[in-house]
């Protein structure tokens, strides 16, 4: 065994261990913040596996998109609504857990069977090394153009949906006047409340 292959083996074992243990932790840990941080570790070890497959561009993209964007946003959302609330007791929790565990185990066995019965080509196709970014670009703009564009349309829809949900007031109308209740109107509605309270205070003062 050469030094390179030993290093490769050690890296593979370490990455796979962090991947498996980390993803079990993501699912099983009760603290959601720990799960989110572990998810970052899982994404990083997946990137490491890509690196071992000589797909350095995909690995860097994995880190940038999943760790740098998706995971940071997940953490951001968790920390913005960081409420420690007691969950209501769910009836039949044990049965639910057993059932979902059984479904997961079944899926795992299915994948394992596929893995064992597929005649994998060993060694796989020759690595592209540094040309991979170039080839990915060529494919994205030729035979994979339609899926690529569809994916971007999907993302656009998700973004518009998020805006609609976040600023629902823009798209609804005032109940009494029938006018569109935009941000300005909402603020106007808030001002009388303040005025009322000050008016109340003045009346109080007058009484005194």
């Amino acid at each position: 065994m050469t030094i390179a292959s030993v290093t490769q083996l050690i890296c593979f074992v370490a990455l796979s261990l962090t991947l498996v243990v980390g993803s079990l932790g993501v699912v099983l840990l009760p603290n959601i913040v720990y799960s989110a941080f572990l998810l970052a570790g899982v994404f990083l070890s997946v990137a490491g596996l890509y690196l071992m497959l000589n797909a350095s561009f995909v690995a860097a993209a994995q880190v940038l998109v999943y760790v740098g964007a998706v995971n940071v946003l997940i953490l951001f959302a968790i920390m913005l609504v960081n409420k420690k609330e007691e969950m209501a007791e769910i009836p039949g929790l044990l049965l639910r857990r057993v059932l979902s565990g059984a479904v997961c185990l079944g899926l795992f066995l299915l994948i394992l069977r596929v893995d064992l019965t597929t005649p994998w080509a060993v060694p796989g196709p020759a690595p592209l090394a540094d040309d991979s970014a170039l080839l990915i670009g060529i494919h994205l703009f030729s035979d994979y153009l339609l899926p690529f564009e569809l994916a971007s349309v999907l993302l656009l829809m998700a973004m518009i949906g998020a805006i609609v949900l976040a600023r629902r007031d823009v798209f609804s109308s005032d109940v009494i006047t029938g006018e569109p209740a935009d941000q300005g109107l909402l603020e106007k509605e808030r001002t009388p409340l303040l005025l009322e309270s000050t008016a109340g205070e003045t009346t109080l003062l007058e009484k005194v």
Binding site: I3, A61, V63, G68, A69, V72, F76, M79, A133
Partner: protein, 382 residues
């Protein structure tokens, strides 16, 4: 690829320390594998030492320049002109008690600073000081740096959350928001440069600028991109005017509030290494990297020497390192001056600048670069 090949022919192979080292070790009777194994840790250690020394210099500069800006003298007793002051600072931090607040999350509290520092040091992998003077000329080059720098906010969020302190949490959240907002214009500015040099590799990017000395540097072809990159790099480093995550007047010290001793030192190191790294990358992407303002080939030709002569190679190699460091520290100087002259922006102004100004400008810059590349392939890398 053809442009890179022709540029290589112009620059020449330069110093190749690795092959010299391995052949010397083989001369001592070691096998090739052992020689390679002996070589491997050397550049990594060298770069680590260079990064830490860079930070020490940076801290001294910061103290001296801030003193000069405020018409003080600054440190002067520790060594001549106070050059040993950063060492004293570092030693003090080393010997301080390591405090973990009682209600804090010990594990995440410890892991946070590590996660902030490690990606920054890893990014030095792609910083070139010469044709062969970098740890690894990976094909994805600057993209690796962009990807690695996106890990940092996780460490900041982690330490902000684990400190169990509202200032820390707010600081961590601000750091994450700022980092996400400024990563996009930064990446778009880099993309314009990458498009001109047809490669993500930092060595290729420098070679593409080495045709006519100072005139062929990217700053003339990408002035807008240079400004966008510099603003975003300052924001990514959390330097003033963008140091909102640790704004003293509002948040005590942001995510660093609860940290003391060596863990605080890791944050400190991380932010300064990041500043030096950003300055180095600006030098690589826009200021011709290790290139001398007048091409060394012309100079060598003027005194009638071949570029490949060993002595000339040694001199050009050293000149390259000096030029890279000089350009980087010029930018660090500008960053320090900015810190002591500009007021801090508000968080809404920061996000407005990122999303409503820099992002559209960066997109337009990319589009214009693409158009110019098609129209004038000779000047904009066809």
């Amino acid at each position: 690829m053809s442009t890179a090949g022709s540029a290589l022919a112009v620059v020449g192979p330069g110093l190749d320390l690795q092959s010299s080292f391995t052949s010397a070790m083989e001369g001592f009777g070691l096998s090739q594998g052992t020689a390679h194994l002996l070589w491997l840790p050397l550049p990594m250690l060298l770069v680590l030492v260079a990064a830490v020394i860079g930070v020490l210099v940076n801290v001294w500069l910061e103290r001296k320049i801030s003193a000069a800006v405020q018409q003080r003298i600054g440190p002067e007793y520790a060594g001549a002109l106070g050059v040993l002051q950063p060492m004293a600072d570092g030693l003090k931090l080393l010997f301080k008690e390591d405090v973990i607040p009682r209600r804090a999350d010990g594990l995440l509290f410890t892991l946070g600073p590590v996660l902030v520092l490690v990606p920054v040091i890893l990014s030095w992998l792609v910083v070139p000081f010469g044709q062969n003077l970098l740890i690894s000329d990976v094909g994805i080059g600057v993209f690796l740096w962009i990807a690695l720098s996106s890990i940092q906010p996780i460490g900041l969020l982690m330490s902000g959350y684990a400190s169990n302190n509202k200032y820390s949490l707010l600081g961590g959240l601000r750091a994450a928001a700022q980092s996400i907002s400024y990563e996009i214009p930064l990446a778009l500015a880099v993309l314009a440069v990458v498009m001109m040099s047809n490669s993500l590799s930092t060595v290729d990017i420098v070679n593409q600028q080495s045709g006519a000395g100072i005139l062929s540097w990217n700053i003339w072809r990408q002035p807008v991109g240079f400004l966008i990159f510099w603003i975003c790099a300052l924001a990514e480093c959390e330097r003033l005017p963008f140091d909102l995550p640790e704004a003293e007047e509002e948040l005590v010290a942001g995510y660093q509030t609860e940290y003391a001793g060596m863990k605080f030192a890791l944050f400190y190191l991380g932010s300064y290494i990041n500043l030096v790294l950003s300055a180095l990358l600006v030098a690589v992407l826009y200021l011709g990297g290790w290139g001398f303002p007048i091409p060394v080939e012309w100079l060598a030709g003027a005194i009638g020497q071949s570029v490949d002569a060993p002595l000339v190679q040694l001199i050009t190699g050293s000149l390259g390192i000096v030029m890279t460091v000089l350009k980087a520290y010029l930018l660090v100087f500008i960053a320090i001056l900015l810190r002591w002259t500009l007021p801090r922006v508000r968080i809404d102004q920061l996000l407005d600048l990122g999303w409503k100004f820099l992002l559209p400008i960066a997109l337009v810059n990319l589009l214009v670069t693409a158009g110019l590349k098609l129209a004038f392939p000779a000047f904009f890398g066809g």
